[in-house]
């Protein structure tokens, strides 16, 4: 069984350290994803394993033998490399290129045998390139050529397969097929595959171990769950991302969020009434704008609940498929009453969450500015036999602002907040007639918005 042990490897270009103290143990059947931002040393690591760049310090053991002490041809029989750059300037046919992969197994003067042809055919079928066999390789598309090169590597019948960004030129079906192929080789034939992959989701789906590099050092190593966490991604890639488990593929998947704008925090609390995912985007946007958010009531399986947890927003939660209890309802109402504003999304209302709307109504009567996003008319989302619709009418009568499109909300909310600030200051600072004038200017303009 093949094994690869990397111990304390340090690589340099001239006097610049590219990799420092990298250690890793890989056993047969492992599909290692080498991850990291640009410039973190991923390609350099592969090159040190493929013997293109001798480490300044440290050892690499292939089956307990020092990799660098072996002969070229010995290594070529066991290790194959798919490089990043796939240009070929001579007009060899695809089959000829793949047959070159048989070189380590041939004597100096031996022509390729039947067996070699069989191997070539097999790997070309696996990579879906057999139909390109007689085509000159420099006339193929980037993706076709990439697959031919992968076939060549496979033709070496290697025990270790090193791949440097092998999916760059491939369309989605070929990406999946190649990853499937490598995975199956690991599982069925016990080979080791080490791939530098930029697509975290593909890595998460197919690799069973991962190595996360940052600035030339190993930041994390181990199973996918251990390595691919939000914190790691945030630290290394400087991107906020949610890491979830995909129920269908049963693998982790990462949702990167756009880099946060840094807004100064506003001293303003907004309570969000949402559910079924309608509030996720809003939560992020409003949080970015600097508001302190609360949410409720959400059931713990709800997407919005996950988002709120991720964004550290305090949530009043309820068990799934259960009606809202009095305790929960009252906690929710407390939050609403303490907030400066309430936002209600276009969430469908049923008997399960009608109480949220009732609480909001109570809060409006207390004077809390309420915004209701009305993208879908309430009749469509009313599953309470008209009670929700009626509540909506009441809310309108009491000054709730209805918005047609969710995208308009942030601007409105910001304007309202600015007004509120001005008002606060006006009451303490502006003297005399100015105070009167500002009071007039700041009359609520809800006449206009009622329609």
């Amino acid at each position: 069984m093949v094994s690869l042990n990397i111990d304390g490897v340090e690589c340099r270009y001239g006097s610049i350290k590219i990799l420092e103290n990298v250690s890793l143990s890989v056993k047969a059947g492992d599909f290692v994803g080498i991850l990291g931002p640009n410039g973190s040393g991923k390609t350099t690591l592969l090159r040190s394993i493929s013997r293109s760049l001798k480490p300044y310090k440290g050892t690499i053991l292939l089956n307990d033998k020092d990799l660098y002490s072996l002969k070229n041809i010995e290594v070529a029989k066991q290790m194959a490399v798919v490089p990043q750059d796939n240009t070929i300037s001579f007009s060899f046919t695809a089959l000829e290129v793949v047959l070159m992969g048989r070189n380590p197994h041939l004597e100096r003067f031996q022509m390729e045998t039947e067996n070699d042809m069989t191997v070539a055919r097999r790997v070309m079928n696996l990579t879906n390139t057999w139909h390109l066999a007689s085509r000159p390789v420099n006339e193929l598309s980037g993706g076709e050529r990439q697959r031919v090169i992968i076939a060549r590597a496979l033709a070496q019948e290697p025990k270790i397969l090193l791949l440097d960004e092998p999916l760059t030129y491939l369309d989605i079906i070929n990406q999946l097929e190649i990853m499937d192929l490598i995975k199956s080789l690991c599982v069925a034939d016990g080979i080791i595959a080490m791939a530098v992959v930029h697509d975290l989701n593909l890595a998460a789906r197919y690799c069973n171990t991962a190595l996360l590099l940052n600035k030339g050092c190993v930041f994390a190593a181990g199973s996918l769950d251990e390595v691919m966490t939000s914190e790691n991604i945030k630290t290394v890639f400087k991107v906020d991302a949610m890491v979830k488990r995909n129920p269908v593929t049963n693998s982790l998947y990462i949702i990167p969020l756009s880099p946060p704008k840094s807004s100064p925090p506003r001293n303003c609390a907004i309570h969000i009434v949402s559910g079924a995912g309608t509030g996720t985007v809003l939560m992020k946007v409003l949080q970015e704008e600097g508001y302190s958010l609360t949410a409720g009531v959400l059931n713990v399986l709800d997407t919005d609940f996950e988002t709120a947890e991720f964004l550290n927003i305090p949530v009043i939660s309820e068990a799934p498929f259960s009606p809202i209890t009095e305790k929960t309802r009252s906690a929710n109402f407390d939050l609403m009453a303490k907030s400066s504003m309430i936002v209600i999304t276009s969430v469908p209302f049923g008997y399960g969450n009608l109480s949220n709307l009732e609480s909001a109504f109570e809060a409006v009567k207390l004077g809390v500015q309420t915004y209701i996003i009305d993208e879908e008319p309430i009749d469509v989302r009313d599953f309470t036999g008209g009670k929700a619709t009626a509540l909506m009418q009441e809310l309108k009568k009491h000054g709730a602002v209805f918005i047609k499109h969710a995208s308009e909300l942030p601007a409105l909310v910001n304007a309202k907040h600015d007004l509120m600030e001005l008002q606060k200051n006006a009451e303490t600072e502006v003297p005399g007639h100015t105070k009167k004038a500002t009071k007039e200017i700041m009359q609520p303009t809800h006449h206009k918005e009622q329609n």
Binding site: I73, A76, S89, F92, M100, R108, M111, P136
Partner: protein
């Protein structure tokens, strides 16, 4: 294309190659014989064959040599035959060197003179003509040609040496060093030509390339370099296939890249230096013959190398024959003929290919 058909093509590849080579070698022999017929003196084919036959020990008894004049015999054996053989050897050597350079540099503009062999040879030749007594001979070879050979080699090794980085010789550095050394040596050469006085005619004529003064000794001198050089390179043609895909790729496929590359460069340089020493600087052969052969036969060096050598030999024998008879009793430099003959043919081949041309 059906699977069986594809595999069929590849299975028969090696026999197809053998047939191609045999056909080419036969064509070369024919070209040699025909070329022996060409020249100022008219000597018929039967006479040529008779003269040649007399050279072979066991045949000579049975050949009637009455009708052969001693001057015809002398012309064939002492003047034309060495000349034609030299042309063949030089053509083969330059073409083979061209194949090696193009494969190693992965560059269509590479030719045998890239690393300065021609510039070094011309400087060596000029130095010998101008400053060394022409009465000296080394192993019977003219001093000027020996100097040409030595300086050609020295130049190439100089270029290799200045491009070294540790144990490796990176290709870009090699190319640049070659360019710089070439420019420097050409400047030296120009300087010497300006001060050469009467010897200028001779130097210029030699530089233009030709086989007009070839003697048997020179043929024996060049033969081992070319024959052994091509033979050794043949061992490494599969490696050359892989080297032509890239150094790292070749290494990953099991080739000792650095060693093989340096060995092949040395061989190519020796062949080029030997060729230039006896024939002057004949351009075009090392650059275009590998191309033409590749267009016709494909890039696999296992057939490309021997085929290019044979095609190069034929080509130069033909060009030399044309140089001999083109203008009555006087001669044209072979380098002019190679360009005039080769260029249109190459353009024709290029246009014939429907797809865009790349190596």
């Amino acid at each position: 294309m059906s699977d069986g058909k594809i595999e069929g093509i590849y299975a028969n590849r090696s026999s197809r190659w053998k047939i191609i080579l045999v056909a080419l070698v036969l064509a070369l022999f024919l070209t040699l014989i025909v070329s022996l017929n060409i020249g100022y003196a008219s000597i018929s084919f039967s006479q040529i064959l008779a003269i040649l036959g007399k050279q072979i020990p066991f045949l000579s008894g049975s050949i009637n040599s009455a009708s052969i004049s001693p001057s015809s015999q002398a012309i064939i054996i002492l003047i034309r035959l060495p000349r034609v053989l030299a042309a063949a050897l030089v053509g083969a050597g330059l073409a083979a060197a061209g194949v090696i350079y193009q494969g190693i540099f992965r560059n269509p503009m590479a030719d045998s003179y890239l690393l300065g062999a021609s510039a070094g040879a011309s400087v060596g030749y000029s130095i010998a003509v101008l400053y060394v007594s022409s009465a000296l001979t080394i192993v019977g070879l003219g001093i000027a040609q020996t100097f040409a050979f030595i300086f050609a080699l020295l130049t190439v090794f100089l270029v290799l040496f200045i491009s070294r980085v540790g144990h490796r010789i990176p290709i870009t550095t090699l190319l640049l060093s070659g360019v710089v050394v070439n420019i420097f040596l050409l400047a030296m050469e120009t300087l010497m030509e300006l001060h050469s006085g009467q010897a200028l005619t001779g130097i210029i004529a030699w530089l233009a390339g030709g086989f007009s003064d070839i003697v048997w000794l020179q043929v024996w001198a060049v033969m081992p370099f070319v024959i052994i050089g091509i033979a050794i390179t043949f061992f490494f043609t599969r490696d050359l296939n892989m080297l032509s895909m890239g150094d790292e790729t070749a290494q990953h496929l099991g080739v000792n890249t650095e060693k093989v590359r340096q060995l092949l460069l040395v061989i190519a340089s020796l062949m080029t230096a030997a060729a230039v020493a006896i024939s002057g600087v004949i351009g075009f052969v090392g650059l275009i013959i590998p191309h033409m052969t590749r267009l016709a036969i494909g890039p696999d060096h296992r057939i490309l190398l021997p085929a290019s050598a044979v095609v190069g030999a034929m080509f130069l024998v033909i060009c030399d024959a044309v140089a001999r008879v083109a203008t009555g009793a006087s001669e044209l430099p072979v380098g002019v003929i190679t360009a005039l003959v080769g260029t249109p043919f190459f353009i024709y081949l290029l246009r014939r290919r429907k797809t865009t041309y790349s190596l």
